[in-house]
């Protein structure tokens, strides 16, 4: 008789115990899938939230005075094509979202009312696409050529529909469409204007020059800043790297938070479920002593007995993993909508996880049935069958 048929018939005969084992697999796979899916959603959510906080790495010429740098006093510049070299490098992968910036004080900007103001002008180069890394959504400012984004304090002085006007280094008057009036709370840019880099370079007569690169450092095992600095300086020894650690830490902590929960809860649930299953398998083997005894008396090998117990675990593990995947994905979607503001609609079943689940859970449940299966092979047929 086909052992598969034997196992299926036994599964249906001992419905309750089979169902309880199945429920433990479903519970474990549901929780694992739900937590994993939510952790991925959390990563995306974090990415979105952190995008709002901006980039965390500054790259600038060595020897730049940091007081001048943060005060936006005139600091040394360097060629903007440095970014292209970095983006083309195969080994440069610790830093993403490279955005070249020219940032200066503009001492006498005259508003439409005729008043003069000191403002900050920032020119943004389009974010560099790193050739050897996967594409990512751009994070930095994206200012179209011929347009500007004006800070909240500046925009107060410019009536709706009016263009932004500024005088260039050569005395020439430049006009720009106001594409965006920025909300309050952008720091220095509240009293500043964001340009496309080329436009600002033209205004200031600084073609091809930038004075900083803003970027995003990776979460690296050997330290964010060290890794980024080494990679940058291997290519350009005249550049220095510094980090806004509060943003970087917040980003890293947010990203790791769900992973930390997951790395505790998933193994915990798995171990508890596997232990419960192991006890249930043991009880199942005990209640099948006569059957196993008679199989031995009929000359069935220990391997056959081991096989039918493990096959049962494999079938329950497989079925439980499939049901658990859909249940876990549903739970993640249902609760994810309540938890995550930005990425709620993007929470979908992770299909690659289905393949992983149907491989891993049957193996885990075969492991949990291993000791009971070994115990089954040790059942003394003579003692069992000789009982009256």
């Amino acid at each position: 008789m086909n052992p598969f048929k034997l196992v299926i018939k036994e599964l249906f005969y001992r419905k309750v115990s089979s169902l309880v084992i199945l429920i433990t697999v479903i519970a474990a796979s549901t929780v694992s899938v739900a937590i994993y899916t939510l952790s991925k959603a959390s990563e995306n959510e974090t990415r979105k939230i952190m995008r709002e906080q901006g980039l965390n790495l500054y790259i600038f010429p060595k020897g730049t005075n940091l007081i001048d740098f943060y005060s936006v006093n005139n600091t040394p510049t360097f060629p903007e094509n440095y970014i292209d070299t970095l983006a083309e490098s195969k080994t440069f992968d610790a830093v993403r979202h490279l955005t070249g910036i020219l940032q200066l004080k503009y001492p006498n900007w005259t508003d439409p009312n005729g008043s003069s103001h000191q403002i900050v002008v920032m020119g943004y180069k389009d974010e560099a696409m790193q050739r050897f890394l996967s594409k990512q959504e751009t994070m930095g400012f994206d200012v179209e050529k011929g347009t500007v984004h004006v800070g909240s304090l500046i925009s107060v002085n410019i009536p709706e529909g009016e263009k932004f006007k500024i005088t260039g280094h050569n005395g020439k008057q430049y006009e720009f469409e106001i594409a965006k009036r920025l909300e309050e709370g952008k720091g220095m840019l509240d009293q500043g204007v964001a340009f496309n880099l080329i436009d600002l370079q033209q205004i200031l007569g600084m073609e091809g020059q930038i004075n900083k690169i803003e970027a995003l450092g990776c979460v690296c095992h050997d330290g964010r800043i060290n890794n980024a600095r080494n990679q940058v300086q291997n290519i350009f020894s005249d550049l220095e790297v510094t980090e806004i650690s509060s943003i970087a830490d917040a980003r890293e902590n947010q990203r790791l938070m769900m992973n930390k929960y997951g790395s505790f809860i998933i193994p915990f649930i798995l171990i508890v479920s596997m232990l419960i299953s192991a006890l249930l398998f043991y009880s199942n083997v005990n209640s099948r002593r006569y059957e196993i005894g008679i199989l031995k008396a009929m000359g069935k090998s220990k391997t056959f007995i081991l096989f039918i117990i493990l096959l049962k675990a494999l079938l329950l593990g497989f079925l439980g993993s499939v049901v658990g995947f859909f249940a876990g994905s549903f739970i993640a979607e249902y609760f994810g909508k309540e938890i995550f503001r930005f990425t709620a609609m993007a929470i979908k079943p992770l299909w690659s996880l289905l393949g992983f689940s149907v491989l891993i859970f049957p193996v885990l449940w075969m492991l949990s049935s291993w000791i009971p299966a070994l115990a089954a092979t040790q059942i003394d047929a003579a003692k069992t069958l000789g009982k009256e």
Binding site: K9, Y13, M298, G299, E388
Partner: protein, 233 residues
């Protein structure tokens, strides 16, 4: 065919030793029907299970066609139990989730003859109409007949029957003993453990065990030929 030489088996329970078999020797020829009788606890079942390769004796040999069963590899012992020995127990030990037919199929070694032989035997044992029934739907007699077919379906040379009529009423006992006798008549060797004189009288030799020792080893003078219905003729 079967030679048991100086078998000793001692059980230990809670520090107390109990000798189930004490230096027992016995020869069984092919085609013999041997009844093992004796009071409870005399070692009858232990002897049967030892012959069947289920209990490892502390000393002595069980030789089947000259090979010591307990010096065989695991594979060889399994093959010995699967092909050359069939067991019938007092408690039928049918798989509760398998039908009558499936309970028999599970013991079948060769598959090429499909279910022809099984159905022939089921017909002879009046079980054919019940082939799709589960053990819980059977009478005790029907259960024991199912267990009997399961024991002989692989055409074993030796049938080891441990109190097979112990749970049956006289009528069902008679039917079962007739089936066992037919197996014997068709050339099979039978070792029967029984308390019941009627059952033991089917044998052509009786051996008596007492306190683990073989005390008589006689050719029976009361071999009967009644109730043989020719199931295996």
């Amino acid at each position: 065919m079967l030679e048991i030489n100086n078998i000793t088996k001692v059980y230990t329970k809670g520090g107390d030793k109990f000798t189930a078999l004490d230096n027992v020797s016995l020869k069984v020829e092919k085609g013999e029907f041997v009844a093992v009788v004796g009071p409870s606890g005399s070692g009858k079942s232990t002897l049967l299970h030892t012959i069947g390769g289920l209990i490892h004796p502390d000393s002595g040999q069980v030789l089947y066609r000259g090979s010591d069963v307990y010096k065989m590899s695991n594979q060889e012992v399994n093959r010995y139990r699967r092909q050359y020995v069939g067991f019938v127990f007092q408690q039928f030990h049918l798989m509760p989730y398998l039908t009558v037919l499936e309970n028999i199929q599970i013991a079948k070694v060769e598959t090429e003859s499909k279910n022809g032989k099984i159905e022939e035997l089921m017909g002879k044992c009046a079980l054919l109409p019940l082939k799709n029934k589960y053990p819980s739907e059977l009478s005790v007699g029907e259960k024991q007949r199912t267990a009997f077919i399961r024991a002989i379906i692989s055409k074993p040379e030796i049938l080891l029957a441990d109190e097979p009529t112990g749970n049956l009423d006289p009528e069902n006992s008679k039917i079962l003993m007739s089936l066992i006798e037919d197996f014997h008549q068709s050339g099979g060797t039978v070792l029967l453990v029984s308390h019941e004189v009627e059952s033991a009288n089917y044998a052509n030799r009786k051996v008596t065990l007492k306190e683990g020792r073989l005390i008589t080893n006689n050719i029976s003078s009361t071999l009967t030929d009644n109730n043989r219905s020719g199931f295996f003729s």
